[in-house]
């Protein structure tokens, strides 16, 4: 019977405070959920508990004793078992080899049959059927997760940490995992369950600690909470509504129509399910929702990056089914991706080069030759206009802060005057000044008669910008409201998947 206690833990990286005054008490024999949105600091916390990061301040106590983990080995040694979101398994090796690796039965000869028997014994006694001689690369994701759990059990785990275990599972696999978790709990093993899914937390956990913006904001027995309460803690009730920008002046024709769209995710599960909506010229259409409810897949399908399973996407009345990414760009659709470092910029290129990437024609080149001077001049104008710091066209993109990188992407996309701009989490992780600048640009684009599809996990942002607000849950739009009818209660509740007929006014969404 073990306990895990975290006191005033803090971890900062250059420019970001990932964890600040994190406190946690996991009692022996309980399943303790840590709930929070992406970027709330859950992963950083796990990495500190598992010895991958060292905290700047604060303490980790196991059974009341302060511990310091310089390496993962130290954490394993005291009995902390972590099942990472990205499995730490070696596909080319067998199940048994993966389970015992680093803690083999003996030195010298590898005792294959004895090892396989030991692994089979553990998997049988905990109800986790596995074939010890199978190659990991041939197994499903659910099976691989099971190996990770057996791996922890083989190492005599005292505290089991599951980092977003359901994120990679199908619904059936999730149910099987929950059966296993209940069994481990019955064996008295405390489990830390990291998640951003309210329903799952309510189903499996005894206690929940909510994290927001790097801090632990609430710890509460699950039994006494409602989904709405959890959502509010997670998203932040104390949202201050900054001055509403002026509403849209002129709504024009429908630009983007999405008609009964179904899109699959990587696991071939329907992430977007027969979803229908339309965005008109001169409006900002905000899509709210808890992360992982199909927003990414929806946006990628519209941008042409992900195949459509069924349904139609129309732009200016024309189906996009046979139009590739480049064709969509030409038609006037711009896309500001969520992971700006990975998808948006070439970090080792200069700002000028990055600003040229989208469209290499005039003024950036002539007859196949780059026109450096003109490009640099244009880049300079854009950097000044979008308040990028430093506004030096020769600076490398990788040398800029996250906020300024985002401004560069936005400058590139907005400068092409798209008819439709798709912006995903455009201000994530930015400071107030940068947020304001980006919001101003989005509003300007709208006021010029263009459309913006804004996907954000931050309700505040949606409420501050959108003319109409849709809430996505489980791949569907569960509620759609004009802004003047939207309030945080209604939207927060809809985000949990509960839809109250009284609040959802169908005629409100013209």
């Amino acid at each position: 019977m073990s306990t895990l206690e975290i006191r005033h833990l803090r971890k900062a990286f250059p420019g970001v405070i990932a964890n600040d005054d994190v406190n946690l008490l996991v009692q022996s024999g309980e399943t303790h959920a840590i709930l929070g949105e992406n970027g709330a600091g859950k992963s950083t916390l796990i990495k500190m508990i598992s010895g991958l990061y060292q905290p700047d301040q604060g303490e980790i106590l196991i059974d009341g004793e302060a511990r310091r983990f310089d390496t993962p080995r130290d954490a394993i040694h005291v009995g902390i078992g972590v099942v990472h979101q990205h499995f730490m398994l070696i596909p080319a090796l067998t199940v048994a080899e993966n389970v015992v690796l680093g803690s083999e039965l003996s030195k010298g000869r590898f005792q294959r049959s004895k090892t396989e028997a030991a692994v089979a014994e553990i998997s049988r006694s905990f109800g986790l059927p596995l074939d010890p001689s199978a190659r990991v690369r041939d197994l499903s994701v659910g099976m691989q997760q099971r190996i990770e759990i057996v791996k922890a059990l083989y190492r005599k785990v005292r505290i089991l940490i599951l980092d977003e275990p359901t994120a990679v599972l199908t619904p059936q696999e999730t149910r099987e995992l929950f059966v296993v978790m209940r069994q481990l709990k019955a064996e008295g093993i405390p489990i830390v369950f990291i998640s951003h899914k309210l329903e799952e937390v309510r189903e499996i956990a005894d206690t929940v600690t909510v994290m927001r913006l790097g801090k632990t904001v609430q710890t509460h027995p699950v039994a006494g909470t409602t989904s709405a309460q959890l959502a509010n803690w997670m998203v932040g009730r104390d949202v201050v509504f900054s001055d509403h920008p002026p509403a849209s002046t002129g709504i024009g024709d429908t630009l983007l129509e999405v008609d009964r769209l179904t899109v699959l995710d990587e696991r071939k599960v329907q992430a977007v399910r027969a979803l229908t909506f339309a965005v008109r010229a001169g409006e900002i259409y905000g899509v709210a929702g808890i992360d992982g409810n199909g927003q990414t897949e929806l946006v990628e399908a519209i941008a042409g990056l992900r195949p459509v399973q069924s349904g139609v996407i129309r732009f200016q009345g024309r189906s996009l089914a046979k139009v590739g990414v480049r064709g969509r760009l030409r038609a006037g659709i711009s896309y500001v991706p969520q992971d700006r470092q990975r998808d948006g910029l070439v970090l080792t290129f200069t700002l000028t080069e990055n600003l040229m990437l989208r469209d290499l024609s005039r003024p950036f080149s002539r007859g196949g030759f780059l026109t450096r001077k003109a490009a640099r001049q244009r880049a300079q104008e854009l950097l000044t206009e979008f308040d990028v710091r430093p506004d030096n066209p020769s600076a490398l993109a990788g040398s800029l802060s996250g906020g300024n990188q985002q401004k560069v992407i936005l400058a590139r996309e907005v400068a092409s005057r798209p008819k439709l701009l798709i912006a995903v989490q455009p201000t994530r992780g930015l400071d107030v000044g940068a947020i304001e600048g980006i919001h101003r640009q989005l509003l300007r684009l709208r006021d010029e008669g263009n459309a913006v599809l804004l996907v954000s996990l931050e309700l505040e942002e949606i409420l501050a910008l959108a003319d109409r607000i849709a809430v996505m849950h489980a791949g569907q739009i569960i509620t759609e409201l004009p802004r003047d009818q939207a309030d945080i209660e209604t939207i927060g509740l809809a985000m949990t998947g509960e839809r109250r007929a009284a609040v959802t006014s169908e005629e409100g969404s013209t």
């Binding site: 990061y53 070696i90 690796l101």
Partner: protein, 310 residues
């Protein structure tokens, strides 16, 4: 029938195949250890060359071919540590460093050779590694002349292939070495010292490649010549790939390539260009890599430096 029979019916062709395969199999085995732990090793050519040189030098100086063998292997091992250090500690590009090691080895052996021995070359009384005759085996017709009488290093090579196979696939050490080459991060999280195993893999690679060089200088001959490895380190690399990064596969590929060489000698009298036959190893390797005959898959983290996060 008669010409073909003369060539293929002669046991000498197969004895020669085994001898020609030895300086390919040893470095291929070495490359297998190195790459299984995740370090791409194109420096085998260089390791062989210093092995060949120091083998002769020490054998000539001490009049002991066994001390020469030891020195040659060690020279290869020590030189390989430079690749290991650059690849593991400095996380340098392993192909570029390997190339540099080869150029360095070519330069340093030529320099030492000319400085120490001058135009007369290595002393003519330098001892050879002994040729061994296995009494019972040698008497068996056809098989006897092939397997029963070979240089001692041929038998050592065969033994090392078996031992290497056992170590890599049947010991805890081998499991960990392979794990490190497949997924260093996962190995790290279970407490395995990634750097140490990679050093070991590269060092073993250098030792074995050095031994391959020794076979050329004091096994087949008793002299050194500038650039005498003649690209065998690269053919060994091909043999390792063709052999799917396994000791037994490497031996099989080395035998095939050795056969091609032996055949090219035998065919010289008949008028088939030996250059044509010499191309065979590379052509076969390309075929192996394209997957036409059972795709050859390198260790997943082969060539990728590992930088632990902090």
């Amino acid at each position: 029938m008669s010409v073909v029979g003369q060539v293929f019916g002669n046991p000498e062709l197969y004895a020669s195949t085994l001898a020609m395969a030895t300086p390919l199999a040893l470095p291929a085995l070495g490359g297998t250890f190195s790459e299984r732990t995740g370090v791409v090793n194109i420096a085998m050519e260089g390791n062989m060359l210093v092995g060949a040189f120091f083998g002769v030098m020490i054998a000539a100086a001490t009049h002991s071919s066994w001390l020469g063998l030891l020195a040659g292997a060690l020279a290869g091992g020590i030189l390989s540590l430079s690749l290991a250090w650059a690849a593991i500690r400095l996380q340098a590009d392993q192909v570029v460093v390997g190339m540099a090691v080869n150029l360095f080895a070519a330069g340093i052996t030529a320099f030492l050779f000319n400085t120490i021995y001058g135009p007369n070359g290595t002393p003519p009384n330098t001892p050879f590694l002994p040729t061994v005759t296995i009494p019972g085996l040698y008497q068996i017709p056809f098989i006897g002349p092939i397997l029963g009488q070979q240089n001692v290093l041929v038998y050592i090579m065969l033994l090392l292939v078996v031992v290497s196979h056992y170590v890599l696939f049947h010991t805890t050490l081998g499991l960990r070495m392979r794990a490190v080459g497949e997924h260093p991060e996962a190995s790290d999280t279970v407490g395995i010292n990634v750097a140490r195993l990679r050093y070991l893999g590269v060092f073993l690679g250098g030792l074995l490649a050095g031994l391959g060089g020794v076979f050329l200088s004091i096994g087949l001959l008793n002299s050194f010549d500038v650039g005498m490895t003649d690209g065998r380190g690269y053919i060994a690399l091909a043999a390792m790939i063709f052999g799917k990064w396994t000791p037994l596969g490497s031996l099989g590929a080395a035998l095939l390539f050795g056969f091609a060489t032996a055949l090219s000698f035998a065919l010289q009298g008949i008028g088939i260009s030996s250059n044509l036959v010499a191309m065979l190893p590379y052509a076969l390797t390309i075929i192996a890599l394209t997957g036409l005959i059972g795709r050859s898959r390198p260790p997943a983290a082969d060539g990728i430096p590992y930088a632990p996060t902090k």
